[in-house]
């Protein structure tokens, strides 16, 4: 049943470029798809380990910059008169390096920030993203600062025996984003159903209990952060090669907020949640554009976010665990008192 819905949804999404000819809408769908990949990676942390990272855009932006610089080449000086020079490489290698670099950053950020929880974790992650943004803004020699990296080449897919396929049209990019999104979805689905996924959910439900049954909390969280950051880095790389221009504004806090809204409105901890929420909030500005001034759109955006939290705090597609807990509301009340006592202690 669930598999059938997933296949139908993928088939429906795959058919879109065949009947949708409007380039503006197709463009909106491609950028939305890229942000949905970012939202899925955020959901791995927020929905399955319970850690709200508000610096997630940092990994997306690092992926975008690494990928762009790999394919554009760079030349900057180091103290002591050394110069680091890099000749342009094919963009597909940029994607690979984006994934690796973002994953590595995820490792270090995870290692440092998982020492704290709750509000403190949130603030560390925001700070990390802002520091990265300020570096991108001020390290002009490498990143061009506010002048932006321009003329980023499109991704060229190597096809053995047929040479290369450069993704020039919107339709080609649409299918490429769809395929990457599908891979990310299946990877996350596989992960959360594994032993590792159970460990993640275990520590989200009750960290003390998880430790007592032998789950290595820091290791589990760090692995989740690495995978999540790597997927976000891939999304950033897609973004850089599709938009073909990157400036430090990619690190703007509002972009993280967009991903969080996609996850929460869709339903955190549910695999389909970020996809559903992502499509709604990715396309909402498109729907509002003809009827509202840009500032009013953002007012509506904030309003819809608040409304969803008040009306549908579990999201549009609640996770299986949350559906279960609603059915067993008695058991839930008990669990709540227990955690309440534990938090106070």
């Amino acid at each position: 049943m669930k598999v059938a819905i997933t296949i139908l949804a993928v088939a429906a999404l795959a058919s879109v470029p065949l009947w949708l000819r409007d380039p503006y809408l197709l463009n909106a769908l491609i950028t939305t798809g890229i942000f949905v990949i970012g939202a899925m990676s955020l959901n791995l942390l927020l929905g399955f380990t319970g850690q709200l990272s508000l610096g997630h855009i940092a990994f997306f932006g690092i992926g975008a910059y690494v990928s762009a610089l790999t394919s554009l080449g760079f030349d900057f000086g180091l103290p002591g008169g050394f110069r680091v020079v890099h000749e342009p490489w094919p963009p597909i290698l940029g994607l690979v390096f984006a994934i690796l670099a973002a994953g590595l950053c995820g490792y270090f950020v995870g290692l440092l920030s998982f020492r704290v929880r709750g509000a403190y974790f949130v603030i560390v992650t925001i700070s990390f993203a802002e520091v990265v943004r300020l570096v991108a803004l001020n390290w002009v020699e490498l990143t061009q600062g506010p002048l932006a990296l321009t003329n980023i080449p499109s991704i060229a897919l190597p096809l053995p025996g047929f040479g290369e396929l450069t993704l020039r049209t919107k339709m080609q990019n649409y299918y490429f984003v769809l395929v990457v999104a599908l891979i990310a979805y299946l990877l996350i689905a596989r992960l959360v159903r594994s032993h590792f996924g159970r460990a993640m959910r275990g520590l989200m439900e009750n960290e003390t209990l998880a430790v007592s049954v032998g789950i290595d909390v820091t290791k589990t969280l760090t692995i989740a952060a690495v995978i999540s950051a790597a997927i976000a880095g891939a999304a950033g790389s897609l973004y850089a090669h599709y938009i073909r221009i990157i400036d430090p504004e990619v690190f703007a806090f509002i972009n993280t907020v967009t991903m969080v809204i996609m996850v929460i409105s869709g339903g955190k901890g549910s695999l389909a949640g970020p996809v559903v929420g992502g499509l709604i909030f990715g396309l909402l500005p498109v729907a509002l554009r003809p009827v509202m001034a840009p500032e009013a759109q953002w007012i509506a955006y904030g309003g819809v976010l608040m409304a969803i939290l008040f009306v549908l705090p579990r999201g549009i597609v609640p996770s299986p665990a949350q559906r279960l807990s609603r059915r067993r509301s008695g058991a839930k009340a008990l669990a709540l008192t227990e955690t309440g006592i534990e938090e106070r202690a």
Binding site: A119, I299, G302, L305
Partner: protein, 290 residues
């Protein structure tokens, strides 16, 4: 040396308003456990109130400050009553996201009403700065420092010498027990949020005329306020004051001796360093741990 003295003077002026911002947020964060993303909007709001009263109504500059404090108090109380009170008992992530939604909506509202063009406020102070040996400081900045110091003292007395302050401190320690002792916890929450918001508005009203006023000015102010709260420890007013001055010093020295582009990075670097090496803040007493 004279350059260093000048940085110290600038630090004092900046630190006073940072302390106001920090006190407001540490009260809200400490007592209500709400990560208040609207704090920066309240800062912006205070600055725009200053602009409206002085530039649009042509009223006295010194009258505008209490008006901004009052307006911040009212807006804070309204936010608490409409958004936070119905969510009492929700988890911290939900209230934080609602605050983010309110921040986006209110900031966009500011942009919609007043546009994105930066505004400035004319002040009654002479343009020529006060020169004291190697350092100079404008009269406006001296006034900002004095007003900030006054507001800090008033807040300190409010928290430590009044029955409302005693009830707030009791709620911070244990809201259940405070409620059993007859403290109206709902009223305390609303007052706390309103007082914190009015301090943010005051900081904006004071710094707005020093710099320029634009809709996004509060974003960095909010993060700096978080840095100050983390430096000083949750709910610790003295810590917030010292934290405000430390942040101002770090920014001044960072801008002066490293690179002015990284001035605003100082707050974030401090946040990361403190949370990694001393997560309870620099001035936490032993009982706060855990």
């Amino acid at each position: 040396m004279s350059e260093f003295l000048q940085h110290l003077v600038n630090m004092l002026v900046l630190g006073g308003t940072y302390a106001l911002l920090g006190i407001g947020l540490t009260l809200i964060f400490g007592i209500m456990n709400v990560v208040n993303f609207t704090h920066g909007v309240l800062y912006t709001f205070g600055a725009y109130i200053m602009f409206i009263v002085v530039q649009q109504f042509g009223l006295n500059f010194f009258l505008a400050l209490p008006v901004a404090v009052l307006a911040g108090w009212l807006l804070g109380a309204a936010i608490e009553l409409t958004l936070l009170r119905p969510l009492r008992g929700s988890d911290i992530d939900t209230t934080m996201l609602v605050m983010i939604g309110a921040w986006i909506a209110m900031q966009s509202g500011t942009l919609w009403i007043w546009g994105g063009v930066a505004k400035s406020v004319s002040t009654p102070f002479p343009d020529a700065p006060l020169v004291l040996g190697p350092v100079s400081v404008s009269w406006l900045r001296l006034f900002v420092l004095a007003a900030a110091a006054l507001l800090i003292v008033v807040t300190y007395l409010l928290i430590n010498k009044t029955s409302l302050g005693r009830a707030m401190r009791a709620t911070f320690q244990d809201h259940d027990t405070a409620s059993l002792m007859g403290v109206n916890v709902d009223m305390i929450y609303t007052s706390t949020f309103a007082i914190g918001s009015s301090l943010a508005a005051a900081a904006g009203a004071l710094l707005g005329p020093v710099y320029v006023i634009f809709p996004q000015m509060g974003d960095l102010a909010a993060v700096k306020a978080f840095a100050i709260v983390i430096l000083g420890g949750l709910g610790n007013i003295t810590g917030a004051v010292i934290g405000g001055f430390i942040l101002a010093l770090a920014e001044e020295l960072g801008a002066g001796y490293v690179s002015s582009g990284y001035r605003d990075a100082m707050g974030f670097v401090i946040i990361i360093a403190v949370l990694i090496f001393k997560p309870t803040g620099l001035f936490a007493r032993a009982e706060r741990v855990g």
